[in-house]
């Protein structure tokens, strides 16, 4: 019985042999973070909440991923400026991270929780991830100097068309994006 159930589940999530996919995309508003020797790190909670199903009633959270893009500029008067570490995940957890001086890009798959089938029912269908931006060597900055980071988060997901129609279609994801700065404990 379990084998049959597993096979059924696999068939339900497998892409059809033919046909295109719906590609859902969303982008957060641009953010600006200023790090200094006195405030060498900032943490953010990025939340995406689903507000509607896609065309043909498809789930818009399938194969979802988030990518943060950032550019860095320093007001440092000397040639050397501190590296910025961008990391997904809470401190102490296994996480992805990059260490950058000019620009960075960091991706992570998203797992949505809640009632993603009937969106009228609670709990809400949403995903959260934590982003940390921190200076690697804050001591390289004087009290007057700072590092500015302009960043945004791109989201994408895809679902194969149940109708089997050909062609990929890019659509705005029916999600609301919220970014909240977390206070350092």
């Amino acid at each position: 019985m379990m084998v049959i159930a597993s096979a059924g589940a696999l068939l339900a999530t497998s892409p059809p042999d033919r046909g295109g996919a719906y590609q859902f995309e969303a982008t957060s508003e641009g953010q600006r973070t200023t790090l200094t020797a006195a405030k060498p790190q900032a943490r953010y909670l990025v939340r995406a909440r689903v507000t509607a199903l896609g065309p043909e009633g498809v789930d818009t959270t399938s194969s979802a991923a988030a990518t943060v893009h950032g550019t860095i500029s320093a007001t440092s008067s000397e040639g050397s400026s501190p590296f910025v570490r961008a990391r997904f995940g809470a401190s102490g957890q296994m996480s992805d991270a990059v260490t950058a001086l000019v620009s960075f890009q960091l991706s992570r798959p998203l797992r949505f929780m809640g009632n993603c089938v009937d969106l009228e029912q609670s709990p809400a269908c949403q995903t959260e991830l934590e982003l940390e931006l921190a200076l690697e060597q804050p001591s390289l900055l004087t009290a007057e100097e700072s590092v500015n980071i302009s960043w945004s988060v791109d989201f994408e997901s895809r679902f194969f068309k149940p109708s089997g129609k050909d062609g990929n279609e890019s659509l705005a994801a029916p999600w609301t994006i919220e970014i909240v700065e977390l206070t350092t404990p």
Binding site: S81, A97, T99, V102, S103
Partner: protein
Amino acid sequence: MMRRTLASAAALSMVLACASCSAPAKCNAQPDASQPRLVESDERADSLLLTDANESQVLLFRATLSGLPVLWPNEEAVQGAARLGLELRYESEPLGGDGHTEMPRLVLALGTRGTPTPTTPTQLTTSKYPGPEPILLSAPVFEDCALGSSQCQTSFGVFIQRVDGVPFPPLRVSTRVTADANLNTCSALSNEARVTLEVETP
């Protein structure tokens, strides 16, 4: 009588053994003997520090393939390559070269030079987030080795230029260069073959 027969048999077996020692016969009789054989030079390692945008360095080498058999089966009997392996590190933390640390890009080129036919260099630009594996580049050498030559020589150069300057710190570039040749000749005939690699001064 018995002793004479035994002596004759021993002499005959020695003659037969000697005949089977001849290289062409061995290659004809044993398919494995004609398998391609790779001959590699020693590695030439170097290290340089690139600090500013557009700062560059040229490394020159001469690869020599010697000890080739005179009997070449065809013009494609020798296929050689010069190989460059590169590692990038900062002088202090974060050291980089881990796939997660941003580093200045480099333009790399590897190509033969001089006569008769300098090849178009093989080029690449390194990633902004180079990984821990060495960055590899190769280019063909010994392409103008004449049919039947016992020795061939190719001069080649490695060009390394830093693209991005400040705010990136000075970058330590470690290079390892080798040359090799794949010999599609009878291995019994090419036992003496070797590749040597020398550093040339500009």
